[in-house]
Symmetry: C2
Subunit: 221 residues, 2 copies
Amino acid sequence: MDVIVRKPLARRSHAERTAQAETKLVDAAVALIIERGIGGMTLKDVGELAGYSRAMAGWRYGSKASLCAYVVRAVGDEWIQALQQAVQDKVGLAAIHAATDAHYRFVRTDAARIRAFYLLWFDSIGPDLELKQVIVNIHARRQRDVEAWIKSGIAHGLIRADADVSGVAAQFCATIIGVVYQWLVTPTARHAIKALHEGLKQQMTRALIPLANAVSAPRLR
Amino acid sequence: MDVIVRKPLARRSHAERTAQAETKLVDAAVALIIERGIGGMTLKDVGELAGYSRAMAGWRYGSKASLCAYVVRAVGDEWIQALQQAVQDKVGLAAIHAATDAHYRFVRTDAARIRAFYLLWFDSIGPDLELKQVIVNIHARRQRDVEAWIKSGIAHGLIRADADVSGVAAQFCATIIGVVYQWLVTPTARHAIKALHEGLKQQMTRALIPLANAVSAPRLR
DNA sequence: TTCGAATTTTCTTGTTGCGAACAAGTAAAT
DNA sequence: ATTTACTTGTTCGCAACAAGAAAATTCGAA
């Protein structure tokens, strides 16, 4: 009667404990950020939702800001992986289009982590220097990738040689952020989000395609 | 000796008191939002910076969220005025370019109110329904304006008749937000912000100009 | 019209509850 | 035993509200 069957909590190594706590806490943080926003996510609730005490999250990460920065780093790394997987060894516009399509797919599946990631991204305009630095790094990485795709396209003769590489890359990154903002505000308007991604692809095509082909650029929709 | 010269606090009417309090409180809120971010802006400091007691801001607006919504409404109205002034009765691409240039000028002067306005704008991705509603309204208004400019351009034969009006307008609005995000994160990089605005103008030109003229679209920079 | 309560509106001081951050302790692994 | 993982206890600051003080307005007389 009083015998309670326990899961094999057995004997976990320190490394295991740490790793398990990490994932549980991050998952809890992501869930709470999505549910209540960043301001509504409290360290107390993160700890308790993860199955620990109220102070666990605060103890582990030192501060709410550090937890946020950690989440962005963690999800950002996954993201880089997925993007590389999608682009593979494509070059030029093909790479840009593949990256844009991949972005839309991620957003479309509305994976909780992506949503929390971008919510934190937009929070980086605040005075939190730690988070801002993480975002700046990811942003710089993204822009470098786009520049590399454009340069490779030029090298292969697929992109007009006189293209403003860093300018167009900056334009791409800025627009992606604008599109993401739209998605965060109206996550249900899938068609509109899809159209914005398609528009971005077309915008890049118009900006980068060799002049001889310019007039034959496909129309939107 | 004991005679103290007082400023003419005299007798202010209720309307005057209210109006003066309103401007002082909004100015204080804007200053604090810029200095410490939205999370760092406290109702206590807003009230005291405005020359009142710690509870003044809270009493006046009911809550921090309501104060934020009020600030966005107030600055948003000024903004609409200024934009109409800049566009006047222009049509088509001329209107879009004028609006974009005006946007850059506002951002370039870095008026404190504009900065606070957009900081609050990006905060609208949070769960604050009141602020979100205000932003959604401003956004809808902006998109309608752009659509009207495009339509007027089509009517005057200055824009290709088969343009996807709402699609291109959405693209414009999304990109503006992306550009603004860049500005908020790196407000010092004026050249880059200028380039993004120019890129946006060019992007709109490419998307809307009649096909016969497409190849002669000016290059960036 | 003018004076002066009574009333309404504006603003302040008092209080509560909650969260972040940290301190000091307990439990678990090495 | 010693280090590492985690919990309970405490402090401080802020948002939100309550109840009171001060300023303006209304209104009924003379």
